[in-house]
Structures are given as structure tokens and as C-alpha cells.
Symmetry: C2
Subunit: 160 residues, 2 copies
């Protein structure tokens, strides 16, 4: 091992007896920690959005449609870094829930323009508030400054 990184050092693991804490070789891995964080975020979402009948992925699509009425599915796929086939299924769910409708584009008959329904616009008010609460809970262990740093680092990390 070339350099002794401060974190993520592996202890000798003394027999892994039930007594002490066990060695966590992945505790210093960003990718692993992100996976754990996403589990927690998912949990929080489920608790808060239990009454809304939407899933995390569906919610992200809905948020984009609300913020960009007339959006096309392809643009959503690009923004969410997901394949268009996946977007189609999620939009189906939103249409079935009566939150979104597909409208034909007169100048581009292949595409469908996505608009929120009136019911969708109404429900969004509550959802937006709930989303803020979800994020607050998710990051409740962080100070406001740390939360800002966290978001900034995530955005830099994701900036392909």
C-alpha cells in the first residue's frame, strides 16, 4: 500500500467476535458512502411522500414537467441521465395518476409535449413543501454551512 490515507485503514479484524465493532473497509469509499446516503434519502422520501402516490423517480419527472411545461420526454431523459424508455414508463404513471397529460406537438408529430394537469398543479403545492421537509430531514445532521458545501461538492462531482 503506497500511501497511508488517513481514513479507510483496515484493521487486523481480531476474529470478528461479536464483542467489538467490526472492520469497515468501505467506510472511506465515496462511492459506497453515496450508496448508503441514497438508501437513507429513499427511506426519508417514502416516509414523507407516503400519501402522494408517487415514487422518487416519478416525482423527479413531475418536478421537471411542472418547472418546464411543454417539455418533451427526450429532454427529461437527458436531464435525469436516464434512458428515454425509462422516462416513458414514468410518464405513464403520472398520466395514470392524472397529474400530467401528453399533448401533440403540431410542428413535431413524433414528440409529445408534457403538461401538468390542473390537478397536478394543485397537488404540486403540497409536494414542493413536502420535498423541502424531506431534504431538511435528510440533512438534519449537517449545519447550514455544511449543507451548502455538500450540495456544492455534489454538483461539482456530477458536472460531467
Amino acid at each position: 500500500m503506497p500511501k497511508p490515507s488517513p481514513a479507510a485503514e483496515m484493521m487486523p479484524a481480531p476474529a470478528a467476535g461479536k464483542g467489538g465493532a467490526l472492520a469497515s473497509p468501505l467506510a472511506g469509499s465515496p462511492a459506497f458512502l453515496v450508496r448508503l446516503a441514497q438508501l437513507r434519502a429513499f427511506d426519508e422520501f417514502h416516509r414523507q411522500f407516503a400519501n402522494f402516490g408517487v415514487t422518487p423517480a416519478g416525482f423527479s419527472v413531475f418536478a421537471l414537467v411542472i418547472a418546464n411545461p411543454g417539455l418533451r420526454p427526450g429532454a427529461i431523459a437527458e436531464e435525469l441521465r436516464v434512458k428515454p424508455s425509462n422516462v416513458a414508463v414514468l410518464v405513464n404513471g403520472l398520466v395514470a395518476a392524472g397529474l400530467v397529460r401528453r399533448e401533440p406537438d403540431p410542428a413535431e408529430l413524433r414528440a409529445s409535449l408534457l403538461h401538468p394537469t390542473r390537478a397536478g398543479q394543485t397537488l404540486w403545492q403540497d409536494m414542493e413543501q413536502t420535498q423541502r421537509e424531506t431534504d431538511a430531514r435528510f440533512t438534519e445532521a449537517l449545519t447550514p454551512e455544511e449543507r451548502g458545501q455538500f450540495v456544492a461538492l455534489l454538483r461539482k462531482l456530477l458536472h460531467r
Copy 2:
């Protein structure tokens, strides 16, 4: 709206035409960004571990067994914040791949003690190196200092 938060403000979204960038109301949401980051981490893992025949979840279980020989499934479930039933399936995969073996515990016949096989120990050398490369790629947009901050913030966030 009482106070103008610096991030995550929603623009009027002028017709969502194909010309300009679209409004991203979730760009300031930690939970949403973590989900995107996890997608990227998963992608990176698949690229790097394509030849090892293990999945991300299987790898995390394997890493724990390597670091803690004689570990019991329940301890893994607790450490990874998943249900024991899930661990059993993942261990099945590792056993089938010849990386891990289940051994009876003489003092606790309900439990099985997990040990890496010799082949598993050998393969782990390469996996450990590959994992470091995966994390390096995952965080390549960050400076070393930022990477350290990122890990520290994640750990604080997760510290239930």
C-alpha cells in the same frame, strides 16, 4: 416567498423551447443530487468490475467478509443497513462464485460463519486495487481536499 434562497430558485420557464437550458428545480436538493451521484457510482463500478462477476452489493458483502473473517450474516445486514434476507441472497452468489464459504459455528448452530476461500483471498487483491481506481474515477472532478470534505460530510450525514 419570504427569503430568496441562493440556490434552487425556479425560473419562469419560458415555454421550455428546445433552444435554452431548462429549469431544474431539483438542482439544489441534496437527496436528488445524491441519487444522481449514486447512478454515476453504479456506472463506474460496472465499467471497472465488469470482469469480476460481482455486483456492487455483492462486493460490499465480500469486502466485509474479507475484513472480518468469521462474520455472521446478521452483522453484515446491520452494517450495510439492509435486511438479513437480502444478505442471504448475496452470500449465495458469493458462495456460488467460489469466493466465500459458510462454516457452522460450534457454539451457535443457528448462525453460519462466513470465511473467504483461498480463491477469494487471491481475487481480493485485484478487487481492492480496482475499487481504489473506481473511487478515484468517481471523484476525479474533486481536488483531494474536496474529496476529504465530501467523505467527512457523508459520514456525518449518515451518522445516525
